[in-house]
Subunit: 687 residues, 2 copies
């Protein structure tokens, strides 16, 4: 065997080549494993990756806070510092609470894991559905706000708000479905630029104010039509303003879901990043509120509530950031555009974060049997494509239904975040209480744990109260939708869990012996049937495979739909000298399925001990629309045959030439050739 | 073997029972073959079955004819008798022409066959697309007119016109998808009742007129706002009126498509039925026009064109038939309701006819490779369900787009009919010319053929001119839509034909010897792989089947996604004492597909002469939503594996308990049991 014939050599070479091409197709551009694992992130890179969501929320939180206060009239702006202070205090409490959660649950499960472990699976499912809703809303709100800021810089695009928003989501979906992975560095620049530009803007504004030349916003000249409010109405308005300001807290939980991505020491680095993120968010939030108040930004729910705007129906108000940037740096100055661009960029990055979060949570839920297993299947590009599709379609529906109006969407937002915050913090309280019970004796440890319990207790109390406030103030403004969807999602997840449980009980063995008992220790009779329409390449390939598999008995079966073609097949069968017996089944109804099923049932009745394998050729096509033109009868047949006891189906693929689009391959060998060692189909492609 | 053991006996009995249950499931309620073939129809039954379409068109043709004339003012009604006479003359010519077509092409192919054979496949495809469009429009127009007549009797339903129309189509679709077959008798009563009631109404109206007490329609009091027209405008209006009146001709072709359903002598009976149908249609058409003119029905395109109607925006005009019936028999009299009910019934029957015609033509086109083969696949109830779905969805789209307005829909109608009439008649002319060329010598026969040529020539000339008139007068009123759709359909059909042709060339053998050459004459090495996730019933069943099939070599392959479950499987494998080797493939990416593909390619490289069969368990479920929860990974895997050269897939079904919903079955035997002769799963269902 040392001296190979030239034929042998060329055959080996062709096979080598074939193997290599197939391998390249399978693997695609090689993705080394660290790409999937993700490079571990230094704090410098982790901050922008995980904080873009939290930081970007200062792009809309101050604006919404002030806007609600303005409903009561200009005098209500005096409440603004106090409301902002309340938001900042809440933010501090939540950050400190999360510092503890990060240490206690460093696996990256976040609130879902905490609630699931400490409060039971129902609470876990509620947290999961709250988070899913909020991931969708993060995309909708961030994109709406990003589009707002783009339109503030380029007002000509105004009429196409919804189209732009949907386009952004579609673009993000496309990018993420392709599986972009080197995102950490792409995140860093815009996030730091955003922080820097907003920081500089705030600093310049405040310095100019101290120097006696405060910036004046374009809307400072307008008065406001105040609603006349009762005492209770005033309190409610201030609470609403606070609730809208709380949108600054969204995204704080991101780090708790990403601990495994940090460099070691993971927990410590995550905690420090969390504190940094909190500090920056507070600085930007407070600074923007201060400059907005100084420069007199009057941003109303509806431009027509402003007194002094001439054509309020057609006029669009520019976003709060745009107004401040324009007042501080001058309208249409370079720095104005820088601020708008970085704001839009960081908002889109925040939306992008949710594009990773939703499918990841979906996969975890699928792994835990709370969601369809399909969500835990990675697509060709190693991303959870099914989850991404569900996610982006939901976001698009929201944007279309609410016409990409930030003020409407924000009413639905943060309910989910605060549900998950509250349950997470309550879970932490339970966690510490359990720890206390275990450690009765050691006083020093007890004291530490009691301290932590106090912090999470405060966090739980505050987030729960805020949840109540947010619910009360937003319910009639649209938040009821979230309260309608969350139970449906939760109950759906529990139902799916029950269903998978029942399937598992149906298919599992009690003992290993039970399994062993059922496996035949030696081969038993088996019969193969090749379904034969006309004598053509795909059917002959199926016949060839059936012969090669060497079944105990083999026959070709033809369902006779018209006498003419049956006779033609019989003649061809004899002419070709095929030794496999050909059985003709009459079909008075011109139907292939029923006669075949009848024959199989009869045969199973006569030979009850054997199994039957039916060979079906299957066309493989390369263009989506070809699926409309092929395989319908074969699919119907397959579904029907799989219902017959003791029958299995063998699909023998026939790759149509168009299937080469699926991967660039050398000309395919013919059925017989590929085993006979003739590498290429003669006279095709290779001339 | 004569004395069977009790065990053996019970096993046989169980198998008998199983076979019987399965058979009942396969066959359903038995449909004897004459049901599919259709009982052959006597003339008495054939007339209502085939004529409901043609006769029902007198329910709207007179109304639309008069309505268009009224645009010119009341004085234009004097043209009505002449326009009606032109329509009647055309109807006679068409009926006589079709008498000849029926004799020459008795196979039921109708215009499609005539055009295809005599004018080439392009003409055939054009006729086919024209007919498809018209089948859809028949449903839309008939349902719209039927709903009009229902609303004329029950005006309270007025606001829900579109909903009623869509509901009717959906109901017809549901009935036809269930495969109602005994329709011929169901057709007879309403059709004959319709003919009788309209006939009596016309007779009573005319007799009352002769007796000096003519019926007076409710709209006779209203004047009409006349448009001022130029000479050319007048001619165009009269032509438009004629074109609308020509809708009386629709459905005449139905008999030519149904000749095989007639009792013998088929051709003669079909011809006589055709003549009867023509005679009745003419009588009703002329009678209705006459009574409408006598009683002064003024039906305008828009109620606001009538002078004297108080609240024209909200008022709905009652249909012409309703107005005549009310004037003749008295409003809300029993006979009035009888007329309205039979009219609505016959219109729905006409729509029902199209529900048979469209899928049948679709199947013929699919058989001739002009449409997706799926249209030639009968569903569970032996009807062409795919075609029916396409048909009813198209009709629903039309009704919704045009808000079920008869006057708008009728603008699109009859273009298709006249395209097919014209091409059919031209085809007949070619047919006779060819016949003449063949029969040079025999003078007597020549003369007969020349006579027939003349008739079809006249038919061709007239239908072609009417097509031009119809096109010119309706084009801007909506008919352009038909002219946009027909070429798209025709080109689509030709493209599909080309595509199927190329696939056929790709898969066929030049000679029988070529086929014989490629079939291995004796078994060659084959290798089987059972994909093993965890040791549970479905995977064990697959393993069991693979062992039974006795492949040359067999191994179980496990893709290791996490170390824990892999170790568990290995332990269970050893504990169960399974002799099949278990191969573990590492999967760093937590992905099942890629490692398996790599392994297969490598193996194919090392053993190039063998084929590989991969066993995959497949869940069979009984409820549609369960498909969302199962088989996703298996399907993805199947698609990927089928692309690897030399690999075939064997699907081993696992029927979940819910699959018993698919057919009532006895408790299923377990994998090992069904071949070991243990009939029932112990301890389940059967306690």
């Amino acid at each position: 065997m040392h001296t190979q014939s030239p034929h042998e050599q060329s055959r080996r070479r062709a096979l080598d080549e074939d193997t290599r091409t197939t391998k390249r197709w399978i693997i695609g551009e090689p993705l080394p494993s660290d790409k999937l694992e993700g490079q571990l992130l230094s704090k410098r890179l982790a901050l922008p990756v995980f904080a873009s969501d939290a930081l970007s929320s200062v792009a809309y939180a101050p604006q919404e806070l002030l806007m609600i206060l303005l409903v009561g009239g200009l005098s209500f702006l005096t409440f603004a510092p106090w409301v902002a202070a309340a938001v900042v205090f809440l933010l501090i409490v939540v950050v400190v609470s999360f510092r503890q959660l990060v240490r206690a649950y460093p696996s990256g499960g976040g609130d879902y894991e905490v609630a699931h472990r400490n409060l039971g699976r129902r609470a876990g499912v509620v947290v999961a559905s709250a988070l899913l809703v909020d991931y969708v809303l993060t995309v909708a709100v961030s994109v709406a706000s990003g589009v707002d800021n783009i339109l503030s810089a380029v007002p000509e695009l105004g009429p196409y708000r919804v189209e732009h928003a949907v386009g952004c989501v579609a673009a993000l979906a496309a990018i993420n479905l392709r599986g972009v992975r080197e995102s950490s560095k792409a995140f860093a620049a815009p996030t730091y630029l955003f922080v820097a530009s907003i920081g500089i803007m705030v600093a310049v504004g405040l310095i100019r104010t101290l120097a006696g030349d405060p910036p004046i916003a374009e809307s400072a000249q307008y008065g406001v039509q105040a609603e006349s409010l009762t005492q209770a109405g005033i309190v409610l308005l201030i609470l609403r303003s606070f609730a809208s300001g709380c949108s600054a807290l969204t995204g704080v939980e991101a780090i708790s879901n990403g601990i495994p991505a940090f460099k070691k020491p993971k927990v410590r680095n995550a905690q420090q990043t969390l504190v940094w993120m909190g500090a920056i968010a507070i600085a930007l939030f407070v600074g923007l509120i201060a400059v907005a108040l100084v420069s007199g930004v009057h941003y109303a729910e509806d431009a027509c509530h402003l007194v002094g705007v001439a054509t309020c129906e057609s006029a669009t108000q520019r976003s709060l950031i745009a107004q401040i940037a324009s007042a501080t740096f001058g309208n249409n100055s370079v720095l104005f555009y820088v601020v708008q661009a970085t704001t839009a960029a960081v908002l889109l990055l925040a939306a992008n974060t949710a594009f990773n979060g939703f499918p990841m949570l979906g996969a975890i839920l699928a792994r835990d049997s709370y969601a369809p297993k399909a969500l835990n299947t990675r697509g060709d590009r190693l991303v959870y494509s099914n989850g991404m599709l569900v996610h982006s379609l939901s976001a698009i529906v929201l944007l279309v239904v609410f016409q990409a109006r930030l003020t409407s969407l924000i009413q639905l937002y943060i309910i989910g975040v605060f549900v998950s915050f509250s349950l997470g913090q309550i879970g932490m309280v339970v966690h510490w209480l359990r720890a206390l019970r275990k450690l009765r004796s050691r006083q020093s440890v007890r004291r530490v744990i009691l301290g932590r319990l106090a912090i999470n207790g405060l966090g739980a109390a505050m987030t729960a109260s805020v949840l109540v406030v947010v619910t009360v103030t937003k319910f009639t403004h649209g938040a009821w939708i979230v309260f309608a969807i969350m139970p449906v999602l939760s109950l759906g997840m529990l139902a799916i869990h029950r269903y998978y449980g029942s399937v598992q009980r149906e298919t599992r063995y009690g003992t290993v012996e039970a399994a062993a008992e059922e496996v035949a220790s030696q081969p038993v009779g088996d019969h193969a049937i090749v379904l034969m329409g006309i004598l053509q390449r795909p059917t002959v390939k199926a016949l060839d495979y059936a012969i090669a598999a060497d079944h105990a008995s083999l026959e070709a079966v033809h369902v006779s739909i018209d006498a003419e073609s049956t006779a033609a097949l019989q003649t061809a069968w004899v002419d070709a000298g095929l030794s496999t017996p050909l059985r003709i089944l009459p079909s008075p109804y011109r139907d292939v399925v029923t006669p075949l099923l009848r024959y199989l049932v009869t045969r199973r009745h006569e030979h009850p001990d054997e199994i039957v394998t039916v060979y079906l050729p299957q066309y493989i096509v390369g263009r989506w629309w070809e699926n409309l033109l092929h395989n319908h009868r074969a699919n119907r047949l397959r579904q029907k045959l799989l219902l017959v006891e003791g029958v299995s189906i063998t699909l023998v693929p026939w790759l149509l030439e168009s299937s080469s689009r699926l991967y660039r391959r050398a000309p395919r060998p013919l059925p017989g050739h590929e085993r006979a060692g003739i590498p290429l189909r003669p006279g095709r492609k290779k001339s």
